[in-house]
Symmetry: none
Subunit: 240 residues, 2 copies
């Protein structure tokens, strides 16, 4: 799937809210994960790379605020957008500045969407946020693949534009250096589980990618063909 999609975690104890929010935001092209409690949220945060948390402060059991504080305390990265009933707003009185914004319920979806965008944009342009995925930059040969910027920088410091598919394909290789990947596997990776396409489409993608990164596309050195098996990436890869 498209890895540029922002991944939101919605934490709310009311099923209806979760579901309708999800439905709405999915239509607007976000990846959504749901959690009905702070514990579920914690679990989700561990297993997935969440970009933004939409967190209800009023929940039975453990309260949203404490999770918010906790995340901040441990210097976690995701952006936090609190939601609260207007009446409960005073509870933020200790002013929970751990969040990046808050919005009072009931809110209209459009405003929420706008807030999400604003807050993500702000974070995106902010150089200061000390996160940066450890795996943001992958080096091979004299190339650098900057996953964050979706950009490939060549030996001569020239940046090469990659299409989404090419980017995903190359990433797949770099994350599994030396491993032989079948066409089916590559299809899964680049086009998602239930992609409908024939093998030759992978061949083509490979061909296109080779044209961009191989010194001599006719005699590929980086992406090797395994006859009857698939392809593998041969250069040494290092994270940085």
């Amino acid at each position: 799937m498209d890895s540029t999609k922002k991944h939101l975690l919605i934490v709310d104890d009311q099923r209806e809210i979760r579901e309708s929010l999800k439905a709405y935001l999915v239509r607007h092209d976000y990846r959504i994960t749901l959690a009905d409690s702070t514990e579920a949220a914690r679990a989700a945060l561990k297993t997935a790379a969440i970009d933004l948390v939409i967190l209800d402060i009023m929940m039975p059991g453990e309260d949203g605020l404490s999770l918010c504080r906790e995340l901040r305390a441990q210097g976690s990265m995701p952006i936090i957008l609190l939601t609260a009933m207007a009446e409960d707003t005073d509870r933020i009185i200790g002013l929970e500045m751990g969040s990046d914004d808050y919005i009072t319920k009931p809110f209209n979806p459009r405003e929420l969407l706008a807030r999400i965008r604003a807050v993500l944009r702000r974070a995106g342009t902010l150089p200061a946020r000390n996160e940066q995925p450890k795996t943001s930059c992958l080096h091979f040969d004299k190339w650098v693949l900057d996953s964050a910027r979706r950009e490939l920088i060549g030996p001569d410091q020239v940046s090469i534009a990659l299409s989404t598919g090419e980017f995903l394909l190359l990433s797949a290789f770099l994350q599994r250096p030396g491993m032989v990947l079948s066409r089916d596997q590559l299809l899964d990776i680049t086009r998602g589980r239930d992609a409908i396409a024939f093998d030759r489409s992978v061949d083509n993608q490979i061909s296109r990618l080779r044209k961009k990164i191989e010194r001599d596309p006719k005699n590929p050195e980086l992406i090797k063909t395994h006859w009857g098996g698939g392809y593998s990436f041969t250069a040494r890869v290092s994270e940085k």
Copy 2:
């Protein structure tokens, strides 16, 4: 570290508030010093060059307001932003308040940030974008943009009226000639970090601006579109 970072002093008796405020503002690239009382604040003001004081008016012991008055009386420079519970707000009003602005608790982090920026900017301490024009006239092609008068003069010496938004947009381009600016960046620049708007609005602004400055708006020569990336200004720009 970065000496251009603004240095804020947070004065509040509640530890939680101090800490969460600090956490939040640090993330937004400010240097922070904390004080839990007016005495501590006075000490901090002596030893560090504080740009702005965020001062709680309601504190046990000596009150924030008196410190505020005192600072003003001695003609001290730091800008002061008062914080107060909504109920205590009357105390400020009517009072000859030496502060530059105030905000009532509980406040939205976004709003506080906006106030801080506004107040710093107003005080002229903000170095404004990439060095604001010492020279207020920017030339490109046969055009002149007079920043001081917010006026655009065309090749035929006719002056073209620009709306505020159009002016900011054009300025943004002229200050970064050749640079590709994404819609998000342009939103930041022309509408501020916290703008709530969608990409289409940038498109429209561009479209409107093109109609005013391009010879043939259908085949723009000055403002170039970078597919999937944003826009850039291509003409050579000179200050004069």
